[in-house]
């Protein structure tokens, strides 16, 4: 995974970006869905460009799953416009699904089949599947090819789900809370798998998650969904204005920890340098973390 430092996505063939909307993998306008009178999705707009890794972040009950399931064609919307790979998921036929890969949450199907049998089975649904060996290699299950799926660990089981999701060479891959229940090492491995897919093949990825570190590690852009509405959209670095928000400068002086909040941390640091000398003990400059911004965004609607 680290062995393929591909210049891929950004340097790839020039793409018309979001501005034109023409090559958008996903385009949603004013999407609404109500369950028994209470709105689950309450006017969502989304644009996801071809080749992008896009994260949808939000607390439980925010409307993430409903939104994604509408995009996946599993659920009908009440109103709004939805276009996924240029078609309305509600009307799209079997061929539309050739371009879509799904990685389900909590699936435990195919338990008595081997990994290889499972991958080969799902390959048969597509006109131009990846070879099964290639897919197992990609998700790191080559050594487990002959094992029954029910004997795999949780993390390996999810790799089978990813294998099924990518075997048809999808243009758009949906990942629904892919690393819930993973140990830290398994999460890192999973992340590098996702990065590989994105960089090698330019697969567009829509990811839902609760984990902020996952968003920072993977996503080009992130949207925060709370109470059925998009509260903010941006890159993980600038979401909610965190790149320009007030910084906190901390240091140690006369054996005491001190700190100050400022819009001009560089000025503060050079003053400190002038006063204390070249090396300021215990110097830290922090901006609000993604978590701070996120909690602030979802807190404001509660």
């Amino acid at each position: 995974m680290d062995s393929c430092p591909s210049p891929a996505r950004r340097a790839g063939p020039p793409r018309t970006r979001t501005l034109t909307g023409v090559t958008d993998a996903v385009r949603v306008r004013d999407l609404r869905k109500t369950y028994q009178g209470s709105p689950a999705v309450d006017g969502v707009d989304l644009d996801i460009a071809d080749g992008e890794v896009f994260a949808l972040l939000g607390p439980n009950g925010a409307g993430k799953t409903t939104t994604v399931e509408i995009l996946e064609g599993f659920r009908r919307r009440d109103s709004g416009e939805v276009s996924v790979l240029g078609e309305d998921p509600q009307r799209a036929g079997r061929r539309w699904r050739y371009g879509i890969g799904l990685v389900l949450q909590n699936a435990s199907d195919m338990a008595d089949m081997t990994v290889a049998e499972t991958v080969r089975h799902f390959a048969r649904f597509y006109p131009d599947p990846r070879p099964a060996e290639e897919v197992m290699d990609l998700v790191g299950l080559t050594g487990k090819a002959g094992r029954k799926v029910r004997t795999l660990s949780g993390g390996q089981r999810r790799r089978v789900d990813v294998a099924i999701g990518v075997v048809g060479r999808p243009r758009l891959l949906f990942l629904d809370e892919p690393t819930t229940g993973f140990d830290p090492e398994a999460r890192r491995q999973f992340w590098s798998l996702i990065t590989t897919l994105s960089e090698q093949d330019g697969t567009t990825i829509l990811l839902t998650t609760h984990y902020l570190d996952e968003v920072e590690a993977l996503a080009n852009r992130v949207a925060v969904l709370a109470a059925g509405r998009i509260r903010a959209v941006g890159t993980p670095r600038d979401l909610g204005g965190r790149d320009t928000a007030e910084a906190t400068v901390g240091w140690i002086e006369d054996g005491e920890h001190r700190s100050t909040r400022t819009h001009k941390p560089t000025v503060v640091v050079s003053e400190l340098a002038g006063r204390i000398g070249d090396e300021i003990p215990g110097l830290v400059v922090t901006r609000p973390s993604l978590e701070d911004v996120y909690l602030d965004l979802i807190g404001s609607v509660r």
Partner: protein, 273 residues
């Protein structure tokens, strides 16, 4: 790059692919498989040991009636109980959601189930026939006309039970609930259909009439007509085999079952809407 010559996978290929998965999963789950097949055989052995000595009509032991009826019970068990439970399980473990998310024509899923049901029903019938003829003097007919009768009753019975099993799969909310919810009505149905009590005329009249509303009683009657001498028709409520009525009732249940399936089948569980 992809080229224009790529072809859609054929529906036939996908049907066979699904059938392969269904069969392999069924036969690999050993315990479930053994118990599914064993149930009618065990019932036949236990009940047969009670009825063995009694004669239904002169020269025809009750155990023959029982063995022939148990073929219907076996088909009900593989096609109705087993299919309903397996679809509930598919809904719960993500199989159905997964299959809806891949480019699969829905017919492929059902074709897989049809093959599963046919293979298991044939295996079950062979098993019951083997035990019936080895231990309970069930005569295996030589007349091809009787096997023709067997074939149409088998096919109509399997189709009706499988369609009802598919419709029934929408009732339980979970696999844990599925076994009791599917088994209890099936047990009662076997009882009122004269599968356990032979001849069926030993049952109280109202129970016989309830049984006559459902396909199982007619399947059992049909199989008795295949395997027993014609003199045994005297043990039927009507005193005759009534092939015409059997065909009508079973065909009506196939149609009704199909309508129920089309109107109630759900790809998703209730909790996921």
């Amino acid at each position: 790059m992809t080229t224009l010559t790529l072809r859609d996978p054929s529906v036939w290929d996908l049907c066979t692919a699904r059938a392969g998965v269904e069969l392999r999963q069924f036969f690999r789950e050993r315990t479930a498989m053994i118990f599914t097949f064993a149930l009618p055989v065990v019932l036949l052995t236990l009940l047969g040991s009670i009825f063995d000595k009694q004669a239904a009509v002169p020269g025809i032991p009750s155990s023959q009636l029982l063995a022939a009826g148990m073929i219907a019970g076996g088909i009900g068990s593989t096609c109705f109980v087993n299919l309903a439970t397996s679809i509930v399980s598919d809904r719960e473990d993500g199989t159905l959601k997964r299959l809806r998310g891949v480019p699969m024509p829905p017919i492929a899923y059902f074709a897989g189930k049809v093959v599963l049901v046919l293979v298991t029903a044939v295996a079950e019938v062979v098993l019951v026939l083997a035990v019936g003829s080895a231990f309970f003097d069930l005569p295996l007919p030589r007349d091809p006309a009787r096997w023709a009768t067997f074939t149409w009753i088998f096919l109509l019975g399997v189709t009706g039970c499988a369609l009802l099993g598919t419709a029934m799969s929408s009732v339980p909310r979970s696999v844990r609930g599925a076994a009791p919810i599917v088994n209890l009505p099936f047990l009662v149905l076997q009882f009122v259909s004269g599968i356990f009590i032979v001849p069926i005329t030993n049952l109280p009249e109202p129970l016989q009439q309830i049984g006559a509303l459902f396909p199982l009683k007619w399947m059992a009657q049909g199989f008795r007509s295949v395997f027993l001498p014609d003199a045994a028709a005297a043990t039927e409520p009507a005193g005759a085999w009534e092939h015409g009525r059997i065909a009508m009732v079973l065909a009506a249940w196939c149609l009704g079952g199909l309508i129920l399936c089309l109107t109630t089948f759900r790809w998703q569980g209730r909790k996921d809407g």
